[in-house]
């Protein structure tokens, strides 16, 4: 009976490679191109719709132009501010502070986060405090910072740190907590010591949570900085986007206020699109967790 004949090793080998080929996803997806087009086009369309609505509101004449300027007024003001170099200067000042402050926050928060996640008594004593700090709006630190550091850049940096550090710590701790127990067991079976376990298993496994924490930490940095810049104007403190916003309020020029808001928003969106989104997508895709790789 042929059905009873035993498979030769060569038969088994070719059966195996056939299975491997069938069960492995073909490379490349035909829908990638279309998807990329819409990821760019859809938000732009939404933005255009929003501006059209704004223009309609202005045209209806419900509020006078000095209260609600038209999109074109704001565009003119933006052009003028660009011509004077105000926008470039404000963005450069704010961005420099934001990036340096965020970087320092990450350097401080990362080792603390590992300690909180891994050492029981540290978590028990400092964990609730750090979670609490995340709830406290960092604007609350501005008056204290002004009293301590005066109207200097140190005030801005202090507020950034107080805003970003708790977020980054919490993201890292959440990431470590979500490491599947199976991975720790793998580490134990492979003979990893405590430090090797952290280095080769826990930290790489917690990376998505850590990056999410960094992303939120950046958002908190940026918000805290704007709050600090709006409240602490003058003195030795540089002229940032927040200062520009506050200046617009003082001279009662609504167009300047709108330009400053648009500037703050644009920087926030660009950092998300150019830094964090690609970082997260790359991370998830490599682990087979991104939507595009789902079969």
């Amino acid at each position: 009976m042929p059905s009873e004949a035993l498979a030769s090793p060569a038969d088994a080998r070719s059966l195996e490679s056939g299975l491997d080929a069938l069960q492995t996803a073909p490379v490349g997806s035909t829908r990638r191109g279309r998807r990329t087009f819409w990821t760019v086009a859809a938000p732009l369309l939404a933005l255009a719709l929003l501006i059209a609505g704004w223009q309609l509101f202005v045209s209806a004449g419900i509020k006078p132009a000095y209260i609600v300027p038209s999109p074109l007024d704001v565009l003119h003001e933006a052009g003028a501010a660009w011509g004077r170099g105000d926008i470039q200067r404000a963005v450069a000042t704010s961005l420099e502070r934001g990036v340096i402050g965020f970087g320092v926050a990450a350097l401080i928060a990362t080792p603390i986060g590992i300690l909180v996640a891994r050492v029981r008594w540290v978590r028990m004593s400092f964990g609730p405090l750090i979670t609490g700090l995340q709830v406290l709006p960092s604007v609350a630190w501005v008056p204290a910072a002004i009293l301590w550091f005066g109207l200097t850049d140190a005030t801005a940096y202090f507020v950034i740190l107080m805003g970003a550090i708790p977020s980054i710590i919490n993201g890292l701790v959440a990431g470590v907590d979500q490491v599947p127990p199976l991975f720790r067991r793998v580490g134990a079976v492979l003979g990893a010591g405590p430090l090797e376990l952290v280095r080769h298993i826990i930290l790489p496994a917690a990376l998505p949570g850590y990056v999410a924490g960094l992303k939120q930490g950046w958002a908190f940095s940026w918000r805290s900085l704007m709050a600090a810049e709006i409240i602490a104007v003058g003195g030795k403190i540089g002229f940032g986007l927040g200062s520009m916003l506050q200046q617009g309020r003082e001279v009662q020029d609504m167009s300047v206020v709108f330009v400053a808001i648009a500037g703050i928003l644009t920087v926030g969106i660009l950092v998300e699109l150019l830094v964090f989104a690609p970082l997260e997508r790359g991370l998830l895709r490599r682990r087979g967790l991104a939507a595009e790789t789902a079969r």
Binding site: E4, T24, V186, L190, G191, R287
Partner: protein, 268 residues
């Protein structure tokens, strides 16, 4: 009709009858007991087990009978409450039901991590990992991410990673339980080939009786609550055996009857 004669026969033995020289044992358990809490029920009770070097032993039992706990104790992941556990060399390698590959590493890097944690110098790791991947017929897949591999391929990488640990004893906790039948049958062939080629001692847990008869030289039946080894069969094999072979089916039926009897004892 093919010319090959029936190849597998079985003999029932009581657990105490297994005679293995004590000095040469690859795994030796003496009166091992396990309770998760001092007042709690006994999970394992009076486990006596001696496994010879190079032996392939299958452990079957109903779900929750403590087979995985027993394996974890042998692997050193959990302590026994009392009793004596001895594993030849410096411990055992363990393979899980899920491949448990680290998803941020490629297939090759997963194998290399096991080498690295064993202290293999950097320069030798890559070549050694490629050799092991070739052994499980995954020569070209070293650079692939884990999610790009099928379930069967992942288990083969996991097997390569276990072999990278260079331990004499390989513990396997239902490693093929989540695979489709064709892939599983193939992996039986692969595992048997690697076992014969490397001379490893294998302790294999399964709830699939046919799988146990297909693979093991000895099949041990565990009771539940408390977990004890209540019966064992020696599978005498001459030549090849396939999971569909009538001899395998006959043995499986007999063992299944005993397994059902064990489960029935717990009926209320």
């Amino acid at each position: 009709m093919s010319t090959t004669a029936p190849r597998a026969t079985l003999t029932a033995r009581t657990p105490a009858a297994s005679v293995v020289s004590t000095t040469a044992a690859a795994v030796r358990l003496e009166q091992v007991n396990k309770r998760f809490t001092a007042a709690g029920p006994a999970i394992l009770e009076g486990i006596d087990l001696t496994i010879a070097p190079g032996e392939f032993v299958c452990l079957i039992g109903a779900s929750g009978c403590g087979k995985s706990t027993l394996l974890n104790i042998v692997a050193g992941l959990e302590p026994a409450t009392s009793g004596h556990v001895q594993v030849a060399g410096d411990g055992a390698a363990l393979m899980f039901q899920e491949s448990a590959l680290l998803p941020w590493l490629t297939a090759r890097r997963n194998v290399e991590l096991a080498l690295r944690l064993r202290g293999v110098p950097r320069g030798e790791r890559r070549d050694r990992a490629d050799e092991l991947l070739e052994l499980v017929h995954l020569k070209g897949a070293g650079g692939k991410a884990v999610h790009e591999l099928s379930g069967g391929m992942r288990q083969r990488v996991a097997l390569a990673r276990c072999l990278a640990q260079e331990r004499d004893v390989l513990l396997m906790d239902e490693p093929f339980g989540a695979l489709d039948a064709i892939t599983r049958d193939l992996l039986h062939d692969e595992l048997e080939r690697i076992w014969l080629g490397t001379g490893r001692t294998i302790v294999f847990i399964t709830h699939n009786v046919r799988e146990a008869v297909r693979l093991g030289q000895r099949v041990l039946l565990m009771s539940s609550r408390p977990g004890r080894i209540v019966r064992e069969w020696a599978v005498e094999v001459h030549g090849e055996r396939r999971i569909e072979a009538p001899e395998v089916a006959t043995l499986a039926v007999e063992i299944t009857d005993h397994l059902r009897e064990e489960i029935r004892r717990h009926a209320v």
